[in-house]
């Protein structure tokens, strides 16, 4: 019971971040029919831009994040992430969508992903970094851990879960209630139709690329001080978001968010749960969900994923 609670809460915290990535992948797919392979790395770019402003490239300790400085860093990081995401869309996705060239946007977004990884690696040459924590979680409970029902859980986990939920519900509200959101849904339904009735499709889709990047980045930064960050952090988060979005076949963004939450819990369970003497262990944590989704899309592809018949 104790372990179950621990798995659930830490899993939901990780899953909340995955969920925002999944929702982003899903929204982008529904808007454009493409998968942004650079999504995770674009967010990684934002995270490391924040870190650069906050602490330079030196190894950092948990202390040393003054609030004004942190806010400035966050704004710079968000600007980098949003700007680079929108630039990726306008420069490398939209031109090839018009031409119907799949290889063009696939190669373009993958090239952006590796270019960002290389740039981060060139500036931040250590294998991993500690992200400074602006919020005093280490003062909560015992050195940042609180006991619930006998389980020891990071206090940060609750903050991450709450923030992820708030961001997910907020963006759901945005899609549902605002003019911008309604326009995006129109584009997802029928891009040509939306263009004809006067929706500035390219501008709005470019904005959506930036917006999903910003949302995912906020959640990733909230969770970042909990563990070491490296150039792989963004990439792997993007990958897990993709796994969750594929598990719901690029369904509505809110479904994808829930799939992300589930993925987080499943990963935590794979790593920690013993059933009698039988345990999978941490080695299987990342491999199994990936394998499952790969089999899922190749054995039971959705009608949309299948090659066009006519």
């Amino acid at each position: 019971m104790t372990i179950a609670l621990q798995v659930l809460i830490s899993g939901l915290a990780a899953g909340g971040v995955y969920g925002l990535f999944a929702a982003g992948h899903s929204l982008i797919y529904r808007l454009t029919g493409i998968v942004n392979f650079a999504f995770g790395d674009l967010v990684g770019l934002g995270i490391f831009a924040t870190l650069l402003v906050l602490a330079g490239t030196s190894p950092v300790t948990q202390a040393g994040a003054h609030e004004p400085r942190f806010l400035l860093a966050l704004v710079v990081g968000l600007a980098c992430c949003v700007g680079a995401s929108a630039a990726t869309y306008f420069g490398l996705v939209q031109p090839y969508l018009g031409r119907g060239s799949t290889i063009g946007w696939v190669a373009g977004t993958v090239a952006v992903a590796f270019a960002i990884r290389a740039a981060i690696g060139a500036v931040f040459q250590r294998s991993s970094y500690v992200f400074p924590d602006p919020l005093p979680f280490h003062r909560v409970g015992r050195a940042g851990f609180v006991g619930i029902g006998g389980a020891q859980v990071q206090a940060r986990a609750f903050f991450v879960i709450g923030l992820a939920l708030a961001l997910a519900l907020g963006s759901a509200w945005l899609l549902e209630r605002t003019r911008f959101g309604r326009a995006l849904r129109a584009v997802a339904d029928d891009g040509e139709g939306a263009r004809i009735v006067g929706v500035p499709v390219d501008l709005f889709v470019g904005l959506a690329f930036g917006l999903v990047g910003a949302l995912a980045m906020l959640a990733a930064i909230a969770a970042a001080p909990g563990e070491a960050v490296s150039a792989n952090t963004g990439t792997l988060l993007g990958l897990k978001g993709l796994v969750a979005a594929l598990a719901v076949r690029f369904g509505p963004p809110l479904y994808a968010f829930v799939a992300g939450l589930v993925l987080g819990v499943v990963e935590a369970a794979i790593a920690n749960v013993h059933l009698g003497g039988w345990q999978l262990g941490p080695a299987y944590r990342e491999v199994l969900p990936l394998l499952f989704v790969l089999l899922f899309i190749s054995v039971w592809p959705s009608r949309e994923a299948l090659e066009e018949r006519e």
């Binding site: 029919g33 493409i34 998968v35 392979f37 490398l92 060239s101 799949t102 290889i103 063009g104 696939v106 190669a107 373009g108 993958v110 090239a111 952006v112 590796f114 270019a115 990884r117 290389a118 740039a119 690696g121 060139a122 040459q125 990958l239 993709l242 796994v243 594929l246 941490p282 080695a283 299987y284 944590r285 990342e286 491999v287 990936l290 394998l291 989704v293 790969l294 899309i297 190749s298 054995v299 592809p301 994923a305 299948l306 090659e307 066009e308 018949r309 006519e310």
Partner: protein, 609 residues
């Protein structure tokens, strides 16, 4: 067969092959032979090159050449080629390090393991290219994460130490590896060039350009693409299995998804459209590395990061320039070595064999709640031309799709010559003799008219598989002129034999329609389902079209014609079936139905027959 007879036939076959080889020997072959000789001599010229780096570059070129088949010929953007290299490398390394195997069988097992992985993950070839990219991307990460998560397999961060071995009886020094890799590269280039030029390559190209059209002509989409995907995987696995011994250590870090990316960059940089492109791309990456590596050291940047950045920016550069790659850019300046094909004469005479009747019973199909076809029954006698007419949305095209197997009915049966075809896949129906043309003016726009029609020969080839094409077996070669003659015959039937070598984009839209008709005819159908051949055809072109349809009927082919243009129907068809809201409302000779005031007013509007 006695040994003597076998020896005689083998001898004759070899002499014939030698004769053909002499005939095909061209300036291009001289250039290639000289380049190969220089390549083989490089280690002995005392140029002071690092042979280990050179050998591993050539192995990379082998893997990239294999990937060219998937990316270029099949048009599938694979982001997981490195995963197959890794599978080959670790299988081979484990067999050598843990079981003490020699290099050659270990590398072969590596290739087999990669082939198996390619076949297992091969379900993805049924997907759209975008989803192929997604799933191969997942595969690349899966293999890499697996290697890190299971140090018991991969040796962890130190990797697996691979012991010294011999290669083909020689101590496996970098020079020996280099020579072996070069021979492997040449063999894979030859095999892939043969495949791309042969029937298999033509069908892959058709599937890449227009999947629905290729499928409707009976080209097996999943089988052909899986063949290309698995062959790429096996070649990558073999390159990985051999090169891991050269590296002396199987280090998981060397097989991260960047390897897959680098292979894709090489393919696109060199030019996916050309067989030689990927190898040229690897060479270009290597040459750029000669410049960029000292630069990285000068700037004190980590080398592997710098390589990643260089590859990524090169790819963005290639994409910005249109994405064709080096070989296609150079091709205007390269001397043309045109192969002249022996002229083919159309086969004379009609086709023989029993003619069967098509019978459709109670076909029903609904889309969501909308009933498109409600219990359609019709019969088509051998050699008869019947027209299926009716207003838009009355279910005509749906009927053709159900009969041809592009779609499964909710109820009812399709019978042909007494066989129940309701469940049969399209290829099986085309093979038995039920072919269809598509409604749109569709043809494979990168091909010539004759090549386009040759796609329709898919179901009639017996030796057109990938392995036979790659090895250019006598039967596969003997089949080629037969197929070309039949295709030319089909083109002659629609009156386009003069346009055989004209590229499709240079034909008029009604000529393209006729090419589509010829492609369907090339499948040697007994029943031809023709979907609106007159749409967008000028009034003066109707009569030639009607003549073509009449000629097809005279050859004994039954035609079911879906058409809006009633002039064409009157000229071409004997019988008429009127469909409205998914049901047959009138049936009879063209004259009878034309007389029926009810039908004319309700369904044909005011137009007079």
């Amino acid at each position: 067969m006695t040994a003597a007879a076998l020896a005689r036939t083998t001898g004759a076959e070899l002499r014939r092959a030698a004769g053909e080889a002499r005939g095909a020997w061209s300036p291009a072959a001289w250039v290639a032979a000289v380049a190969l000789a220089i390549g083989l001599l490089v280690p002995f010229l005392g140029l002071g090159l690092r042979m280990d780096a050179l050998a591993s570059t050539v192995y990379l070129a082998v893997a990239a050449t294999g990937l060219g088949l998937t990316v270029g010929a099949a048009g599938l953007p694979s982001l997981g080629a490195g995963a197959f290299v890794a599978i080959g490398a670790f299988t081979s390394a484990l067999l050598m390090a843990r079981a003490g195997w020699p290099l050659e069988p270990a590398a072969l097992c590596g290739a087999l393991a990669a082939l198996a992985a390619g076949l297992i993950s091969g379900g993805v070839v049924r997907l759209r290219p975008a989803f192929v990219a997604v799933s191969t991307w997942l595969l690349a990460w899966l293999v890499w994460l697996f290697l890190f998560a299971f140090p018991s397999v991969s040796g962890g961060s130190q990797g697996l130490i691979v012991p010294e071995r011999t290669l083909l009886g020689l101590s496996a020094t970098p020079t020996v590896h280099y020579e072996a890799a070069l021979v492997l590269l040449v063999l894979s280039l030859l095999a892939i060039a043969a495949v791309r030029r042969g029937a298999f390559g033509l069908e892959l190209s058709a599937l890449r350009q227009h999947p629905p059209l290729a499928t409707s002509l009976g080209v097996p989409l999943a089988r052909r693409r899986l063949g290309a995907f698995a062959a790429s995987a096996a070649i990558a696995g073999l390159a990985g299995g051999l090169s891991v011994q050269l590296a002396a250590v199987a280090d998981p870090a060397a097989y991260d998804p960047f390897l897959s990316f680098k292979l894709l960059v090489a393919v696109l940089l060199g030019g996916a459209a050309a067989t030689l492109g990927p190898a040229v791309g690897v060479a270009a990456l290597g040459l750029i590395g000669l410049v960029s590596d000292p630069l990285a050291r000068l700037l004190q940047l980590p080398l592997e990061r710098f390589d990643t950045a260089v590859a990524a920016f090169l790819l963005l550069f290639v994409l910005a320039l249109g994405g064709d790659g080096i070989i296609p850019w150079l091709s205007p300046w390269l001397p043309r070595f045109r192969r002249t094909r022996p002229p083919v004469t159309p086969r004379q005479g009609g086709r023989s064999g029993t003619r069967a009747a098509l019978k459709v019973e109670g076909l029903t199909k609904a889309f969501g709640g909308v009933v498109a076809l409600d219990g359609l029954s019709l019969e088509l006698a051998p050699g008869e031309t019947a027209a299926l007419v009716g207003p838009n949305g009355s279910g005509k095209t749906t009927a053709l799709r159900l009969i041809s197997g592009a779609m499964q009915p909710d109820g009812g049966r399709v019978l042909f010559g007494g066989r129940d075809l309701t469940e049969a896949p399209t290829r099986e129906r085309v093979r038995l003799g039920v072919a269809r043309t598509l409604q749109t003016t569709s043809a494979f726009t990168e091909l010539t008219a004759l090549e386009d029609v040759l796609v329709g020969r898919s179901v009639r080839r017996r030796y057109g598989g990938g392995i036979r094409t790659a090895l250019a077996t006598p039967r596969a070669r003997a089949e080629e002129p037969v197929a070309r003659a039949a295709a030319l015959n089909a083109l002659a039937l629609v009156g386009l034999e003069q346009q055989a070598d004209v590229p499709i984009p240079e034909l008029t839209s009604s000529q393209r329609r006729l090419v589509g008709l010829a492609s369907a005819l090339a499948t040697e159908p007994h029943v031809l389902l023709v979907d609106e051949p007159a749409a967008g055809v000028g009034a003066e072109e109707l009569e030639p079209l009607a003549r073509v349809l009449a000629e097809i009927g005279r050859q004994g082919v039954a035609v079911l014609l879906v058409e809006h243009n009633l002039r064409l129907v009157r000229m071409a068809a004997e019988r008429m079936i009127v469909l409205a809201a998914g049901e047959v409302v009138a049936e009879g000779t063209v004259a009878e139905v034309g007389e029926s005031e009810l039908v004319r007013q309700a369904y044909l509007g005011a137009q007079r027959l």
